[in-house]
């Protein structure tokens, strides 16, 4: 297998049981993403792109087919092993930010490192550095609700970056933001890609997708590259 492939998917099928019916969401999907790529997964809602993202992010598992992330076979992992893989390999950026409301910005950013078992001081230094990098050095002690949408998304990007993951996985990262802020966030992703981060963005917005270097279209559970 090509070492450069971060994501390697072959004939992946994902279906859900809806009562007596079997709803096939992904139909034998094959996909590879190489280190350093900036990929947009574009498709209308209901196309299966969110399911694809959940599988890439190891939040959901496949029914059949093969999925390797950084060379590791995801099928054979226990739940705790998947947690560890998510922690090290993937940086999630969600549409609705998904920050912990009771924790300050920096505590939110520290979390992936604390979950990894790092001590608080090291995690704090690292988190502070990343928050400064996304332009929030002066807001580290604010709680999410004291921040604007754009700022919250920056915190969530900082949280995604802090653990030095192999891949940044963003699900409609601009979906909850106004167009100006959305543009700023997209610029940030471009910049992060230039610094060497592998990025996969899921979106239904053609304009957003155009900024990526490669677009994968998802429709009715099939992908078209």
């Amino acid at each position: 297998m090509d070492q450069e492939n971060i994501i390697y998917m072959k004939d992946v099928v994902k279906s859900y049981k809806m009562g007596n019916n079997e709803l096939v969401v992904l139909k034998e999907v094959s996909l590879q993403v190489k280190r350093g790529e900036f990929v947009a997964v574009l498709g209308p809602s209901g196309s299966g792109k969110s399911t694809l993202m959940n599988i890439i992010g190891c939040i959901d598992v496949v029914n059949s087919g093969e999925y390797r992330l950084s060379g590791q076979n995801i099928d054979a992992k226990s739940e705790d092993e998947l947690s560890a893989i998510r922690n090290r390999e993937i940086g999630f950026v969600f549409q609705k930010f998904n920050l912990l409301p009771k924790y300050t910005a920096i505590h939110n950013v520290q979390m992936p490192l604390l979950l990894r078992g790092l001590d608080r001081k090291t995690a704090y230094e690292k988190a502070k550095y990343v928050l400064e990098k996304v332009g929030l050095g002066d807001r580290i002690d604010h709680k999410p609700l004291e921040l604007s949408g754009g700022q919250q998304q920056r915190v969530s990007i900082a949280r995604a970056l802090v653990g030095d993951p192999n891949i940044l996985l963003a699900d409609e990262p601009t979906g909850a933001l106004d167009s100006q802020t959305g543009k700023e966030i997209m610029d940030m992703f471009l910049q992060l890609n230039q610094q060497g981060n592998t990025i996969v963005i899921i979106t239904h917005d053609e304009e957003i997708a155009q900024k990526a270097k490669r677009i994968i279209h998802v429709k009715d559970g099939n992908i078209y590259q």
Partner: protein, 396 residues
């Protein structure tokens, strides 16, 4: 995740829900308080029993009229004369009639327990006379109005007066004059029914005639020659009295101090057991309260659990966070309960219930609180830990 970080998370959550946490811990507070008090009351009544029987000869036998009998008619001076003469395993015997009366000396008066008895009352009850003499057979035969008074009564009536000056003085009991012939040594403890420190002993007939009246309940106290003769003594007394009472052999009953002690200990144990089960019920109810609140909390925080799992939390991290939350709530509830008990126990002396605080009580209160929190917190915590990240993350 390190334990310090898990604890940080626990405290952040508790801080966010202070009032809810307080309400939740109320059950545990009451439970711990109950346990400390229950153990205190158990120890208190145990100590009471020991105190009561401390001065008592184990060879002592009580002969009491049966309920339904007509008071003094069933037991009389003839009975003790017969026992004295015929029962070979009995070394001492006295008749006792109990009552209480107003007692005065000069302008001081107080209320005292009165025992009408004969000479042997002294050694059966291990009483020592500090000054003067005890009631003698002669006093009884001549129905002398003489009194032996307890140390406490002496202090109340005569205040600072020397014991040697007290003997020979006259006191007034129920309107009649009595000469004080002796003052008892202070005992400190008390006996069932009659506390010599706060009591006055007069000849039996005198007490019956002038103080307690004909209808007072009379009993007989006897002392077996030796502890091994207690059963023989009981048999002899039963036979002698049955003969004397002519077929009415069921109008009295004989009990020995040993079995009274056992009975008293047993009833103290039963009380402790009963209170203990109440405390258990309180704690179970408190525990169910914690469990309910935790279930709601798991539901409320489903999304948060999903986020934590997405960014790498393991089952153990989530389990410990919820379990420790329950343990922290129940531990602080337990500590508050113990603190309250420390405040309440001193107030219990104003009631008739004696409570003896002990480290065992505090320890048990805390241990049971923590155990309750752990036990009832485990299931909700397990439920939180087992949430699937995909379901938890999409929960709104």
């Amino acid at each position: 995740m390190r334990m310090t970080e898990i604890f940080t998370a626990v405290f952040i959550n508790i801080k966010e829900n202070k009032f809810k946490v307080f309400l939740t811990s109320l059950g545990i507070i009451v439970g711990a308080l109950t346990i400390v008090l229950v153990i205190g009351i158990g120890k208190g009544s145990q100590a009471n029993v020991e105190e009561q029987f401390k001065r008592l000869n184990v060879g002592t036998l009580y002969i009491m009229p049966n309920f339904g009998g007509k008071g003094t008619e069933t037991l009389s001076l003839e009975d003790i004369e017969a026992i004295k003469e015929e029962a070979s395993s009995v070394s001492a015997v006295t008749i006792v009639v109990n009552g209480s009366s107003e007692v005065s000396y000069a302008k001081t008066s107080t209320s005292a327990s009165i025992a009408g008895a004969t000479k042997d009352f002294q050694n059966i009850n291990n009483l020592s006379v500090a000054q003067g003499e005890f009631i003698t057979d002669a006093h009884n035969e001549k129905r002398k109005k003489v009194a032996v008074i307890g140390a406490e009564i002496a202090t109340v009536l005569f205040e600072e007066k020397e014991y040697s000056e007290i003997v020979g003085e006259d006191i007034v009991i129920n309107g009649k004059r009595y000469e004080v012939i002796g003052v008892l040594e202070r005992l400190g403890g008390n006996m069932p029914g009659f506390n010599p420190d706060e009591g006055i002993i007069v000849p039996y007939d005198v007490a019956e005639k002038y103080i307690v009246g004909k209808r007072a309940r009379t009993s007989i106290m006897a002392l077996a020659k030796d502890i091994d003769y207690v059963a023989d003594a009981a048999d002899e007394i039963t036979q002698i009295l049955a003969k004397l009472h002519k077929g009415k052999s069921d109008d009295f009953r004989v009990r020995d101090a040993g079995s009274s002690l056992v009975a008293a200990q047993d009833s103290a144990k039963v009380m402790t057991l009963l209170l203990m089960s109440i405390a258990t019920i309180v704690l179970i109810v408190g525990g169910i309260g914690i469990m309910n609140v935790l279930f709601v909390s798991v539901k409320e925080r489903t999304k948060e659990i999903g986020i934590l799992k997405a960014i790498g939390a393991r089952k153990k991290d989530i389990l410990l966070q919820f379990l420790l939350e329950s343990v922290v709530i129940s531990t602080s509830g337990g500590l508050i309960g113990i603190f309250l008990s420390i405040m309440i126990i001193p107030l219990m002396k104003y009631t008739d219930i004696s409570v003896l605080p002990s480290f065992l009580g505090y320890g048990m209160g805390l241990v049971f609180s923590i155990a309750t929190g752990t036990f009832f917190g485990y299931y909700p915590a397990m439920k939180a830990a087992n949430l699937k990240p995909i379901d938890a993350l999409n929960y709104e």
